[in-house]
Symmetry: C2
Subunit: 408 residues, 2 copies
């Protein structure tokens, strides 16, 4: 109490951005960077040097957008209200320039190397490196005859891959969201640590995870000039559709054969899954339903086929997806898992799209899992939880699978 | 000629940063970013949106530092004179804030995720992905009892590693420079492609390359507050020395045992090399000369033991390095390769330090290689060339080694 009084008397220094509390440097900071800081009530303090700027704004993409306050030493500071746990993208607007914070690790999101701050979730370590056997993440380059280029992908191999050299493994193809790239699931999502911990706990089948770049262009395709076309414009959607098609061909004609040739996979549909977040969820529905000969596990994390249109245009399970769901019993036999998830704090359009899909599947008696991540937005904490719920359901025998209380 | 006249008449538009010539988006840009652009005479054009800024400066760390010009549309532009080939770090100063260009891939340098532009070198593709067998880069995490933490390293494995499962390989430990991290040699240096191409050409022994993070702190060590202490201050040097010692212990006590346990290495000094650039070169000299029982190949790329002090304090080969060089013949037998290199356009202090070391080694009749990269600065193009010259000299029989014309 006395300290608090002294702190009030020293108000000038408090106004300089020095908050009371137990603020510590975020784990997402670069080495030795003191800011951003996070306290035990999940408030975030940001500090940024811009001595000659007139205005600096902090822009959390799914969180507070606030003006920062200029201090006498040329630094701008601000402290946010308590935030949800997880990794939050942000940028800083400096006199109209949208830039990253040099104190933050750079994460590829929003089509650029953006900043983010990791807000710990109390009592949770499933996405941390713990004292369990660790798998390896490999970078591979494969030549794609679809794109005519060398393409980069990341591949997670489970802990025992190098020592049990006779074992073959099932494969999960796991895709990032719009504006992200193949590094997202490792850097932001910590998918490798999530799998290490799940496998060590004994309830998840050791598997290979392949993370490809979801943006592909067919050889010779020239992106039209989109200058002045707004996000989501018909011209932009056409580019996106062209790229979705190119990605589908790249994945099925170049990537999967490369992976099955390069790693000890179980190269059949019963041992191949695909999931993705947001745009990656849309891609998952497109690729898997076009190629049910290749996949038998399907996951849409905050994104699935056509979810944006679903508010008005409910999925008809009798005709959708080339009629794959027309016979619910046959579908349940063919597709071992259909999984969709959404964060309860996601934007209404996203939530209603997934909920509408869920309702349509229920109505059509299509066996599926619907998972809701409590209190999280269209952000990586939702997708980390999705993977934690999704991965243990993969490549299980039929008996184990139907034992899950959340199955529908 | 007529076009040029029209261009002059349209001068207003030319002044808007639209240069004549054959400018193309740099390969270092993020997907779909039109700028930075590079033309065939190696000029670089930068464009950056900052509508409300008063002043924007372009700062190439080893190149032009120039004011950018504000255009009517809120973008700032500038075109540089022709630049040396290679990857050039830069930042932008926006009203006093030093920030990265969102159009550039982020490369970890200067202790932050900085921007860089790749200027092609005509007629050269040794660091590009070509149609040869490709090795894989693996991310590994190892627990270090020295630091008390999980540490991240990258490991390049040669193309045949997975298929020739009986073969064991020599290992090169390859370190980044000050302010960089373990990703530098792959992202900036393209070491994997350099090795792929060298191995495919048949004149380089297939090897494993291990890239660790050169910054380590012993468990419990607290970095003192360096606020207000200038770069290179005694307080900062003390932190650096402490970290150099911690890194040496981490490397010899945690990393090397982990690598030899995890990969099919040839775990002896005859098959273990270390090299590094700048700070990494200093670390290489410290680690290898303290542990000649572990290493027999040594490379200093624009950095070596104590080079900064050498202008005044010439190396005495009779006493230096615990007397390891006192007997030149014995040293040549024990250390199979001592290699130092520098770019001819590096800052005088760096160049004179390496030249002085080279002269002292000549004077002491110490067999070594001195390599000069023509026309390049303290930058990655120097270090790519260094690796291209250094790697083929590793793990060769004595007969092959002495055949090199550049040996001294």
């Amino acid at each position: 109490m006395k300290l608090a009084v002294i702190a009030i008397l020293l108000g000038a220094s408090l106004a300089y951005g020095q908050q009371q509390g137990d603020f510590k440097p975020a784990t997402s900071n670069v080495l030795d960077a003191e800011y951003p800081k996070v306290d035990s009530s999940s408030r975030v303090e940001i500090r940024f040097k811009a001595p000659d700027a007139t205005k600096v704004k902090l822009n959390f993409w799914s969180g507070p957008k606030v003006d920062m306050e200029k201090q006498a030493d040329g630094f701008w500071t601000v402290t946010t209200p308590p935030m949800a746990p997880g990794l939050h993208y942000y940028t800083l607007n400096v006199d109209g320039a949208e830039v990253s914070d040099p104190a933050s690790t750079a994460y590829f999101g929003g089509s650029k190397w953006a900043s983010a701050v990791e807000v710990p979730e109390a009592g949770v370590n499933y996405y941390e490196p713990t004292d369990v056997p660790h798998g390896q993440v490999r970078e591979v380059w494969y030549h794609s005859s679809v794109t005519g280029t060398w393409r980069h992908a990341l591949v997670y191999l489970p802990p025992a891959y190098d020592t049990q050299t006779k074992t073959r493994y099932p494969v999960l193809y796991l895709q990032h969201g719009g504006g992200e790239d193949e590094t997202g699931w490792i850097r932001q999502g910590k998918a490798n640590f999530i799998l290490d911990n799940l496998i060590a706990s004994g309830n998840t089948t050791p598997m290979i995870i392949v993370m490809a770049n979801g943006y592909a262009s067919r050889a010779g395709y020239v992106v039209p000039d989109l200058t002045g076309k707004p996000f989501g414009s018909p011209e932009m959607m056409k580019v996106m559709q062209e790229r979705m098609g190119a990605f589908e061909d790249d994945m099925t004609q170049a990537l999967i054969p490369f992976i099955d040739k390069t790693f000890r996979t179980l190269p059949d549909r019963d041992h191949r899954a695909m999931a993705g977040l947001s745009m990656g969820g849309m891609q998952t529905f497109q690729v898997t339903f076009d190629h049910l000969d290749l996949f038998s596990y399907i996951g849409g994390f905050s994104g699935a086929a056509n979810v944006f249109a679903m508010g008005n245009n409910k999925l008809d399970t009798k005709t959708a997806f080339h009629g794959a769901m027309a016979d619910p019993a046959a579908f349940a036999k063919r597709v071992h898992l259909l999984w969709i998830g959404v964060g309860t704090d996601e934007p209404a359009r996203m939530k209603s799209g997934l909920e509408s899909l869920h309702a349509a599947l229920d109505e059509g008696k299509i066996q599926h899992v619907f998972y809701e991540s409590p209190g999280t937005n269209h952000e990586w904490q939702t997708w980390r939880r999705d993977l934690k719920d999704f991965a243990p359901r993969l490549f299980q025998s039929a008996g184990q699978k139907s034992a899950s209380a959340q199955e529908r």
